[in-house]
């Protein structure tokens, strides 16, 4: 109710503002006739048919065949000249004659694109590089720029597996490129400084994002670039008057997806079915919840926050003069989560300054981020699934609870959980200074010195609380006497020093650019955790008020050195060649395997610059083919992995009592031959541009062969390695196999005007085929990927690495419905003697009469057949409309939440499960044993089609006419309303078909993650 009032109030204010702006300042001025000619800047020729419009009105005119125009306008109004292929030009009428020169639209050709260690014009490119600009990035309301580029770039796949506030989406470029957790992520380069993980740049700070997709482009980043490179350029100021941009939005979010759970009546019926065939330990929930029939608690609903607000406010100040420019952007983002007790708040400030004086130029970028993420209690969705509806709802604000019944522990542990505080505070500082010095003509030496410091503090507080039964007796099991506090601090510190020299020379039609350089990087991650138990009071949760518990501490350090060189040569912009070589050394490998060399060569032929193409040039303004061969690598592994260690703290109390003797042991294995993962990538691309940017089409075909893929694999448990939480001792890193990605990506857009309606239509299509080519031990398969985050040790992994299959392919038992008759049962009992009617029937694939691991079979993969995105942007006078769609097709998802709901007997399906009164059902009968084959994870029963088409975004905006806004002294004012993720078309029965994980084995697992919300927002942007 409160939320609804908020919305109404907000809309009310909103209307008031619009009304004031629309009608408060409208006045009419005197008229004046303006004449002039319009010519093209490229060739000085007049342009016929240029559309001329008086800003803020529907009145207009156009140029005649000779490029002349005449129009009657009010004084001090603005004229807007537009023509396909030319940049829109605006003049303020100051006199009766205005001659206008229109610049050629450079979107296709001379647009400057950031590449590694420099920039290039788009026409110089030989590789597959895509670009997204700031206005597209900020269309999505998010704190994470990754989710804002979903569906906008062909070949770049963005999955938001966890929609908790403050969580970042996973980006993979051209398919899964690594077997490792987080290994498929691209390298991020922010203003020249590299980041292995998402640098969490606030979207409002970004000017453009460039993506280096192919190996030839990416190989300048060598060992880091195996997953592609995302180059982020932050906003810089322009010389001129100070400009201020204000952006604000406010919205409300709602979880729209659900998993069908049984209500009280249905639960009791499921319970009845469960015990109908069991004689011992039968359990009647009403026996222990005597008032159970009074309740029908919707736990999932109770744990969700309806209409949780989200808001963002940013202010940018930019300008500059006399060689000094600046841009300062400050952003405040606040998102309340749609799940209980989760929210995220982020403040960021970025300052970019640039100074140029003669041969010397310098740039300093500084960014600060302060964020606070409050997390919902661990595995909350699982609780919402597990808890029975006949339980009384909880008021979590109390310090003591009364629970009746005889087994109140479950529910009361949950009550305690709701009181837990779990938050993460991140303070990060990123800064770099870039110095350029022009030594002689054509030679620039540069140094780029960067430092980033990232501190992540997490805090967990589990307060004490008391649980009583209905007659006032304390329940010692369920009560928590021990208020616990845990503090963790992880500090990630990186320094980078790059020294480069650029040489550029143009003689006649030969264009040559040479880059050489070297880089040094040091990174360290230091983590420590401290805690206290038995904190004296819930209201004094600091360490000193409790008894200290053992602390933990570790330091991970990695250093690397690189030498790089690049030659770009082109002849008359027709024949373009690029050669890159990079040699990287990483401390993550032993001295023998430390260095890797990553060469690449690529070329392009601009056919449209050939003389024979001239006749077509009117229609096809650019035709270019690109071909490239490049190598990249990956050293993305934890440090020290190549040598086995011995650990302490494996102690034993010899000598009786509390006497402790220290023990040490080697907890696991290490592969001394650990070496670089390498990636050979081939790319063939075509770029077509029609009618100077009216339409554009880019097609790329690629093949990437990855060798010696790194993965920390678990040796057989009989090898005896020791699992220790947060340590990877029970896995060892090794080069496990080879992988291939082949694919095609198509991106196109089309601009079309229908009178006053300007439409821009864009589409991307990505098809990637991912195949494990071989594994280092023949016939080997590596299983991993547990569909639930709880009970992992009792469930089976469902994803596999196996030659011939895609990464993370599902390999599970095939099932064919339930055992329905006595004959079927007798038959099946030959194989599974304990089977009963109503049990799932597993298929003995190899026909040997036994169910063994050999009967597990390939049942699809989460990697889709293809994914696609559509964007539509329409301007109609003061209105703009933007629609974005995104979809994937042919992906298989494991519905882990459903599996959990089945094993907890909470899924509504179970009402219709096999029983004597429902003898044709293929839904397996619920059984008490939680590892029962009916609910075991490793079957195809819980696999579902994960294809979907989602309306990502619908935005309707209205810009006040400049005539109006100038009256109030501003340059631009736009309002918009937007619906984000309002509709998803899918057959998936779980929460949301958009699942993803940085671990490739978990990529297709719906593990009860934080569900995605539909967000409805309204915002405004003002410039002055």
């Amino acid at each position: 109710m409160l939320e609804r009032i908020k919305i109404i109030r907000f809309l009310h204010i909103f209307n008031l503002i619009i009304f004031t702006f629309l009608f408060g300042f409208l006045t009419r001025a005197q008229n004046l006739t303006v004449k002039g000619s319009v010519i093209s800047a490229e060739d000085g020729q007049p342009i016929p048919g240029v559309n001329i419009r008086i800003d803020g009105t529907e009145m207009g005119s156009s140029t005649n065949f000779d490029g002349f125009y005449s129009i009657e306008v009010p004084e001090n109004s603005n004229l807007i000249f537009s023509y396909i292929g030319m940049q829109e030009t605006k003049i303020t009428v100051t006199q009766s004659r205005h001659n206008v020169v229109m610049e050629v639209n450079t979107t296709g050709l001379d647009e400057v694109v950031v590449v590694g260690y420099g920039t290039m014009k788009k026409r110089e490119l030989t590789g597959a590089v895509s670009s997204v600009k700031s206005d597209e990035i900020t269309k999505t309301a998010t704190s994470d720029f990754a989710s804002s580029i979903q569906g906008r770039i062909a070949g770049v796949s963005v999955r938001q597996g966890n929609s908790a506030p403050g969580e970042n989406a996973q980006i993979t470029i051209r398919g899964i490129t690594s077997f490792q957790e987080g290994g498929s992520g691209p390298l991020y380069v922010v203003d020249g400084v590299t980041y292995i993980e998402n640098p969490n740049i606030t979207p409002q700070e970004i000017e453009s994002i460039e993506v280096l997709k192919d190996g030839a482009s990416a190989s300048i980043y060598g060992s880091r670039a195996s997953g592609g490179v995302i180059l982020i350029t932050t906003k810089r100021g322009k010389e001129g008057e100070m400009k201020v941009d204000l952006e604000s939005y406010y919205g409300l979010q709602n979880i729209s997806s659900r998993i069908p759970l049984a209500n009280t009546k249905e639960s009791l019926y499921i319970n009845d079915i469960q015990y109908r065939y069991q004689q011992t330990n039968a359990f009647d929930p009403l026996e222990f919840n005597k008032d159970g029939l009074l309740y029908n608690t919707d736990w999932m609903g109770d744990l969700q926050v309806d209409w949780a607000p989200i808001q963002n406010h940013s202010i940018g100040v930019s300008g500059g003069k006399s060689g000094l420019t600046y841009n300062v952007t400050g952003t405040y983002f606040n998102q309340e989560g749609s799940l209980y007790n989760s929210d995220y708040e982020k403040f960021s400030l970025r300052s970019n300054t640039y100074f140029k004086n003669g041969r010397f130029s310098a740039q300093a970028n500084v960014s600060l981020n302060i964020s606070d993420q409050k997390k919902e209690p661990y595995a909350l969705i699982y609780d919402a699934i597990r808890l029975q509806p006949y339980r009384k709802p909880i008021d979590a604000s109390s310090d003591s609870f009364v629970f009746g019944g005889t087994s109140p522990e479950n529910i009361s542990n949950f009550a305690g959980k709701l009181k837990q505080e779990n938050d993460t505070k991140i303070n990060s500082f990123n800064g770099n200074v870039r110095l350029n010095y022009k030594v002689i003509k054509g030679v620039i030496i540069a140094a780029n010195l960067g430092k980033s410091h990232y501190s992540k503090k997490d805090r967990f507080f589990n307060p004490s609380y008391l649980i009583y039964n209905e007659i006032g007796e304390i329940n010692n099991t369920a009560s928590n006497y021990n208020a616990q506090l845990r503090l963790g601090d992880g500090i990630n510190s990186r320094s980078i020093a790059e020294f480069t020299m650029n040489y550029e020379r143009i003689f006649k039609k030969h264009n040559l650019k040479v880059l050489i350089g070297n880089t040094y990087e040091k990174s360290s991650y230091e983590f420590y955790r401290a805690g206290a138990d038995n904190i004296s009071s819930n209201i004094t949760p600091v360490l000193g008020n409790g008894e200290p518990v053992p602390s933990s501490h570790f330091i991970n350090k990695t250093n690397s050195i690189s030498y790089l060189g690049r030659i770009n040569y082109n002849y008359n912009w027709k024949y373009i060649l690029s050669v890159v070589v990079r040699r990287d050394g990483s401390s993550n490998f032993s001295a023998n395997n430390r260095y890797g060399v990553f060469p690449s060569i690529s070329g392009a032929w601009t056919i449209s610059n050939e003389s024979f193409f001239k006749s077509l040039k009117d229609k096809i303004s650019l035709a270019k083919i690109r071909i490239g061969y490049g190598t990249t690598g990956s050293d993305r592994i934890p440090p020290y992995a190549f040598s086995p260690v011995v650990i302490s703290n494996v102690d034993y109390p010899l000598g009786g009592g509390s006497n402790l003797v220290s023990g040490m042991t080697q907890p696991g294995y290490a592969d001394p031959n650990l070496k670089w993962e390498s990636n050979v990538s081939k790319n063939f691309g075509i770029d077509l541009d029609f009618k100077r940017g009216k339409a554009e089409l880019n097609i790329d075909i690629y093949e990437q062969d990855k060798k010696d893929m790194l993965l920390a694999i678990a040796p057989p448990i009989s090898a005896g390695s020791t699992p220790i939480s947060s340590k990877n001792y029970d896995r060892y890193l090794t080069n496990v196999g080879n992988l291939q990605n082949k694919g095609i990506e198509i991106a196109g857009h089309l601009n079309q005007s229908f009178g006053d309606v300007n439409a821009k239509f864009g589409a991307t299509f990505t098809k990637n085929q991912n195949t494990v080519i071989s594994l280092s031990r023949e016939g080997e398969f590596i299983l991993d990927g547990y569909p639930n985050i709880l009970r992992m040790s009792q469930t089976e992994p469902v994803a596999v690495l196996e030659a011939g299959l895609p990464v993370g392919a599902f390999k599970v038992y095939e099932t064919t419905g339930t055992i329905k008759t006595d004959e079927e049962l007798t038959d099946y009992q030959q194989m599974v003697p304990t089977a009963q009617k109503g049990d799932l029937r597993y298929v003995d694939i190899d026909g040997d009469g036994e169910l063994t691991i050999d009967d597990k079979t390939y049942k699809g993969s989460y990697q889709p057949d293809f994914e696609y995105g559509f964007t539509l942007d329409i301007d109609y006078r003061a209105f703009d409309l933007s629609v974005q769609l995104y979809g994937i097709e042919g992906s298989t998802i494991y519905n882990g939440a459903k599996q959990y709901a089945y094993s907890m007997k909470r899924h509504r399906d179970l009402v219709y499960s096999w029983s004597d009164v429902n003898p044709t059902s293929n839904i397996p009968t619920p059984r008490s044993n939680i590892e029962h084959p009916n609910v075991q994870t490793s079957t195809d029963y819980f696999l579902e089609d994960g294809s979907y088409l989602r309306v990502r975004n619908i935005i309707v905006g209205y810009s006040l006419s400049e005539v109006v806004v100038e009256k109030i002294g501003i340059d631009k004012l736009r309002f918009y309303v937007s619906a984000q993720n309002p509709i998803t078309f899918t057959n998936y029965t779980g929460f949301d078909p958009e699942v993803g994980d940085s671990n490739p084995f978990n990529g297709g697992l719906d593990r009860g993650n934080y569900p995605i919300s539909a967000t409805y927002l309204t915002g405004l942007s003002i410039s002055f």
Partner: protein, 675 residues
């Protein structure tokens, strides 16, 4: 000039570019977190630390840490699960499979121990040691390795498991197929033999308390062999322990279950836990900086009042056994025991029963220290901290897990004697040592007693004519006929208060030798009939012990019924009936929930699993006023009888269930296993 300048510039540029590149150490980073294994294992001290780590593996959850001790008993007849612990229910109903938690953790944790032992054994050759020290370290490591393999051998795949006798280093050494059971047996035998020959009988220094001793190795050898039905050799090992005079039964049986009396005179091998040594922050974990030295068992088994989860409780069968563990009031141990329900000392320290007035539970009366609702008939007290107000708020307890103690050895030795047709007196004497310490009536080779119907009390009594102890007789119903029996053994197969089907009686009942039956059947409270066989019962024929010569006066081929009225009789034991006593009375009462799955080893060794499951599945019980009774339709007609082990009895087969399946975690990570 310009060219020269250019050259200078170039030199500067190159100089700048490669300014730092000569720093060769830049890529050499020392691991600050852990020592490198390659430089470890160079001294005796380091080998000792490796050995301590091997002992530490004994504490793991799947070995003798919490889970194993909690979960294992529900598979046998001594434990029952609570209503919601799905893991325990899975074991109890034998629907366990290759994903069941304990199936995975026992396998994993045994191999962790083996890997650690192998590290010591592999690296010992590289260290310069005196022969004595070397033998000592090697013997301890081999004892532990043998111990871990014993758990795997007894636990999995008919004893056919993967053998690692050295610490694998390269990838290809991990992936192994299981070896034949005979090879696994041979390895265990050799390891334990080495330990047996080289370990000391005791340690001089108190700081070595808890290390494996000669006694531990000898007992393990005995256990290994008795489970192979090699009674003769096993007997020799057990005898050595008994004759060594190192060990003696503690005066108080409770000393074997608490924290105060760890490593007592009875203890042969225990796994040490401590709550003070290292509290830890990750409760389940035992290793690592945040690990603890404690076991999670106590919290898992405690009542709600004790702050626990009562995941597993004593079975109804076990509860009834404890309720019928009859006290010997002449024993001074019982001098102070009063109250309405007189339970033995052994009962009071092993389990909590609501009407036990002679003990406390979490500083409350036994009745209010537990809920006893929800069909919960009794709770575990053995190895619980029941004298505290509640279990630790963390999931930890410091009570050592007694793996082998003298009482176990005495009973195993007795079993060997009986199987070898040895001296019954020796067996009875050993059993009575245990029973005496437990404060319960001793077995007597010859018991003279008198039947007496107390006119004021409905209970029939038997008066022991030697001691004047009055034994309460027990009702039972066989084929609808009320029978009353007296025995120092409750009639296990048909305990008091229950209606039994004659078919549920053990077959070996038939095999009882003439004149040596100890079943006393009383009909219509006036006449005593003694039965020797199932057939006797079916024919309602009683045999008089006082006259071992049967008569068949009417020459009809069956012996004459002899009616006796309140007369004197005496009973005596056969090796079979003594074995029955050990199987169904003494071992469960004395050793329930101890060691590593002791009861399952026992039942499978005897081949009695199916028989026992079926027997127990036929039983009906009721809970009335928090106390468990055998269901008696004449008394309990208003109550719904409850049962246990029905599913297990239906599905059990030795091939499928005597051993755990290979955990899927192994099959999933070891592609070579099935090849």
């Amino acid at each position: 000039m310009q060219t020269t300048l250019n050259k200078i510039y170039l030199k500067i540029i190159i100089g700048v570019l490669f300014l730092f590149s000569c720093n060769k150490d830049f890529l050499d980073i020392q691991n600050p977190n852990d020592l490198n294994s390659a430089s470890f294992w160079s001294s005796e001290e380091e080998l000792q630390m490796g050995l301590v780590a091997t002992y530490a593996a004994l504490q793991l959850d799947g070995m003798l840490g919490g889970s194993a001790a909690i979960q294992h008993p529900v598979r046998s007849d001594v434990g029952r699960p609570n209503n919601w612990n799905a893991n325990a229910i899975g074991l109890n109903t034998l629907t366990l499979n290759e994903n069941t938690q304990i199936v995975t953790s026992r396998w994993r944790d045994a191999y962790i121990g083996i890997y650690r032992a192998n590290q010591v054994l592999t690296n010992i050759d590289d260290v310069d040691l005196s022969a004595d020290i070397r033998n000592q370290i090697e013997a301890e490591a081999k004892f532990l390795r043998g111990f871990f393999y014993y758990s795997l051998y007894r636990g999995y795949n008919n004893g056919s498991v993967i053998i690692h006798t050295s610490a694998p280093e390269m990838r290809d050494e991990f992936y192994k197929k299981p070896s034949p059971a005979s090879e696994v047996f041979e390895l265990i035998l050799q390891d334990l033999e080495f330990a047996y020959q080289n370990l000391p009988k005791s340690y001089d220094l108190s700081e070595d308390l808890g290390r494996a001793t000669w006694g531990a190795a000898t007992a393990m050898l005995g256990k290994l062999l008795i489970n192979e039905q090699n009674y003769n050799v096993a007997k020799g090992y057990f005898k050595e322990i008994i004759d060594s005079n190192i060990y003696s039964l503690t005066a108080d049986i409770g000393d074997n279950f608490d924290e105060e009396h760890e490593f007592n005179s009875e203890s042969i091998f225990e796994v040490a836990f401590s709550i003070e040594a290292k509290t830890g922050t990750s409760y389940g974990a035992k290793d690592g900086t945040t690990g603890s030295e404690a076991t999670s068992r106590a919290k898992g088994l405690a009542t709600t009042q004790g702050g626990g989860y009562r995941t597993v409780m004593p079975s109804f069968y076990m509860t009834m056994l404890f309720r019928n563990d009859i006290m010997d009031m002449t024993n001074p141990i019982n001098a102070s025991r009063t109250g309405t329900a007189n339970y033995s000392v052994r009962t009071s320290v092993s389990v909590a029963i609501a009407d036990d007035d002679n003990t406390t539970l979490y500083q409350k009366t036994s009745e209010s220290g537990g809920a006893y609702n929800n069909k919960e008939a009794s709770y575990l007290k053995k190895f619980q901290n029941w004298w505290l107000d509640r279990e630790s708020d963390l999931t930890v307890s410091g009570i050592n897990e007694r793996v082998i103690r003298l009482a176990d050895v005495l009973l195993l030795y007795s079993e060997c004697v009986l199987k070898g047709g040895g001296d019954l007196d020796e067996v009875i004497q050993m059993i009575n040592e245990i029973r005496n310490r437990a404060g319960v009536v001793k077995l007597r080779k010859d018991v003279e007693f008198q039947y007496d119907q107390d006119p004021n009390n409905n209970s029939p009594h038997f008066i022991d004519l030697n001691t004047d102890i009055v034994h309460v007789g027990h009702h039972t119903y066989i084929n609808g006929q009320e029978l009353i029996y007296m025995s120092d053994d409750p009639l296990t197969y048909c305990p008091a208060g229950m209606v039994c089907d004659i078919d549920s009686l053990p077959n070996n009942f038939d095999l009882l030798e003439n004149g040596e039956s100890y079943f006393v059947i009383v009909v219509d409270h006036e006449k005593i009939k003694l039965a020797a066989s199932k057939e006797d019962l079916m024919n309602n024929i009683a045999i008089d012990f006082s006259d071992p010569q049967y008569t068949d006066s009417n020459n009809d081929g069956t012996v004459d019924p002899i009616e006796l009225t309140q007369s004197e009789h005496h009973l005596s034991y056969s090796s079979l009936s003594l074995m029955d006593h050990i199987m169904w009375v003494e071992r469960p009462l004395e050793l329930m929930f101890e060691g590593h799955d002791i009861r399952w080893e026992d039942l499978t060794r005897w081949g009695k699993v199916k028989e026992q499951y079926e027997h127990l599945a036929s039983k009906k019980y009721v809970m009335s006023a928090k106390v468990l009774y055998e269901y008696d339709p004449t008394i309990h007609s208003a109550l719904t009888p409850i049962k246990e082990f029905v599913e297990a009895a239906n599905v059990y087969s030795p091939e499928a269930h005597d051993y755990f399946p290979i955990p899927s975690a192994e099959l999933n990570s070891n592609p070579d296993f099935l090849d």
